[in-house]
Symmetry: C2
Subunit: 404 residues, 2 copies
């Protein structure tokens, strides 16, 4: 068992998205003049460039004015909101959800992930995660003292329309007693979507080896190029061994309200509610009201948002593709690109800091998503298009300056 | 080490405040006619009867309109809000607080408690708690697999102006290797305030036995009868071994925004921020804006609120005191009374359910605050005065019906 000091040593935050301001100043190998230009923070989306769902502030105000019934909800969220939400999620996934048994509203999707992990992982449990994948997944396993079993996503060299998960390695991991498989789809940071074949195979293996599935589908509403997307919950899986996570956040620019949702196994949702009671009681009562607008956007609003993001993606990918030695896969869902850079004279961490102080660009180092990604950076391209293009030009200029 | 099933068996929520609607219907021993009257939910305060700080909705809207800078803050809360808050907390406690090192904004005070406990308690650690005390304290120790070391608060039979903590037992507990002492002051559920002598003695013992102090001062702004109140942080304690928790919630009727604060030890705050990164990222960005109005209420607003609550307290205590066999201590701070009832024909849990279905009154059973409180109920008297008085009349009528 880890001591508490060891636990927290593994939980760094200074390179995490949004935490860059907390970094200590270090001497950097600065080359050439500073590249001026308006700061672009690619560590998260820009909710000023891509506004929240119209009317969400008014819906919040309505909730506030309801008073006590909205302020104090059950720990798993207000009854009337869960009822509405269960119907909307059924439309989205095709699955019947009992709002009293299979659904919990959480403080952000991060809250849902934490509650699910706390409900499933005990000291020594083997947990399979994907590399690269969302930065908190690995840390959650560390915090609950589980044993990490990483499986590689070979997203740059795989069959067409495959995400690139190593299914043989996955089966080997499951064989060795993995209890839980946690992954995001679309994948964060690469933006790839798991193929129907991969999803079916994961489901089959989970059933065969009695592995619980925790599927983070946060970005599953923002799918590009009319691709197909398969919700794991529709596979032939044990319904008591799967939790899906989603939330009105990134795609909808509602992150500031910190709302998330988990649905699935009654047993796990019940535990999550018990845990919520001691973690934060509930998602902010007034904020829960805003869920009303989710999956209820004005006609055409989502389509337009997706098209806007597709355009930004195309421009940025084109820019990176023109750079010698950069490898990049076109985002299939979500707002991230994860370019792999050519060999540089400085370490990834130093390069990322140089971008911040010498080029007014904030990006997240690949190592947040897996220890081996020492040559990749993640950009959230939910930004003002022109500013993002200028900022990527500055990144490219810096790649040229530091190229080996 | 506990299995995860064992952990969750100890984390019940159906009797927790606000969760009464989730209780399964059971056959109750109902006597006489149903007592009609408007439902009063004493499990929490009524924010419709006692409104939030004036202007807090507008302050929220201002925050929302700021956009991205307010939506995405550092995990420990927005820099500019922490700076303002550190000054206000210094005015309140007399203690210098570095907003970058000693302060974190959390999703409610529950969030602060959880992060602090997660940062301090590892499997097998001895944690001293008070009985009775806040219902989550015991559950937090269970969840982090600590060893509970309870010390009794003899609040009904103690010297005048003493809370009634058994200081001999406390020293014995500390001697046996307790690592952390967690307690609320004013105490929840009894509303007693620790005397200066008790606070000094706790500080002295903590120093002597190297025990970390986690002091929940959520209700420390709502002190009645002009009593003195001593913040533990002002004692001669090791500043790296104390965390104080407070929040704009109960007294201010801002619970619906889910905001809390912890201040103290840099080492512990740093861990809490690391943990926040995987628990819920941050307190809702827009909601954080509302902290501006806290400790910044209109002139006389807090005094009036305290006087109003003092009046309600007096009326309810008078009613309970008139009942043969009821023991009650007058609340010194906060909004709770914790009457001890005479012996009844039904169990406490059944009685509480009878009150709900047969008298339209929701109260919290004493057993939520310690296993031995099988004859006490907790009432949050932050209610409409007349409705609360009528509801207490109904409780008393029920006591008479079920008295042995």
């Amino acid at each position: 068992m880890k001591t508490i000091e060891e636990k927290f040593l593994k939980l760094g935050v200074e390179n995490a998205p949004g935490q860059e301001g907390t970094q200590k100043e270090v001497k950097l190998n600065l080359k050439g003049e500073k590249l001026e230009g308006k700061l672009v923070d690619f560590s998260h989306g820009d909710v000023d460039a891509h506004k929240p769902i119209p009317n969400s502030l008014n819906t919040f105000i309505e909730g506030y004015n309801k008073g006590g019934v909205q302020a104090y909800t059950e720990y798993k969220g207000a009854n009337f909101i869960r009822e509405d939400l269960a119907k909307k999620l059924k439309n989205f996934t095709g699955i019947e959800i009992d709002p009293n048994k299979n659904l919990i509203i959480t403080p952000g999707t991060q809250g849902a992930l934490f509650l699910a992990m706390g409900s499933l992982v005990n000291s020594g449990d083997k947990v399979c995660i994907v590399e690269p994948d969302y930065f908190a997944n690995r840390k959650l396993v560390e915090f609950f003292d589980g044993e990490l079993v990483p499986v590689r996503l070979d997203y740059l060299n795989t069959k067409e329309n495959f995400a690139g998960l190593d299914l043989k390695k996955l089966e080997n991991a499951f064989k060795q007693g993995v209890k839980l498989f946690l992954f995001s789809n679309p994948n964060n940071p690469t933006g790839v979507i798991y193929s129907d074949e991969e999803i079916s195979k994961i489901a089959e293996l989970a059933k065969k080896y009695d592995v619980t599935l925790l599927v983070d589908e946060l970005y599953s509403r923002q799918i590009f190029d009319n691709r197909s997307y398969r919700h794991m919950i529709n596979e032939n899986v044990d319904r008591e061994k799967i939790i899906t996570i989603i939330g009105p956040s990134k795609t909808e620019s509602l992150s500031g309200f910190r709302l998330g949702v988990a649905f699935g196994s009654e047993k796990i949702i019940t535990r999550m509610e018990k845990l919520q009671a001691i973690v934060s009681l509930r998602a902010s009562g007034y904020n829960q009201a805003v869920i009303k607008d989710w999956f209820n956007e004005p006609d055409g609003w989502m389509q337009e948002r997706i098209l806007n993001h597709q355009e930004i993606r195309d421009e940025l990918v084109k820019k990176f593709r023109a750079v010698k030695g950069v490898e990049i896969r076109v985002t299939e869902g979500g707002s991230y690109i994860f370019p792999k850079l050519p060999k540089l004279e400085v370490s990834l961490n130093e390069f990322v800091k140089i971008l911040r102080v010498h080029a007014n660009v904030i990006v997240t180092p690949g190592t947040e998503f897996g220890p081996e990604f020492i040559d990749s950076i993640r950009l959230n391209f939910s930004q003002d298009k022109n500013l993002a293009m200028e900022a990527v030009d500055r990144i490219i200029e810096m790649i040229e300056r530091y190229r080996v």
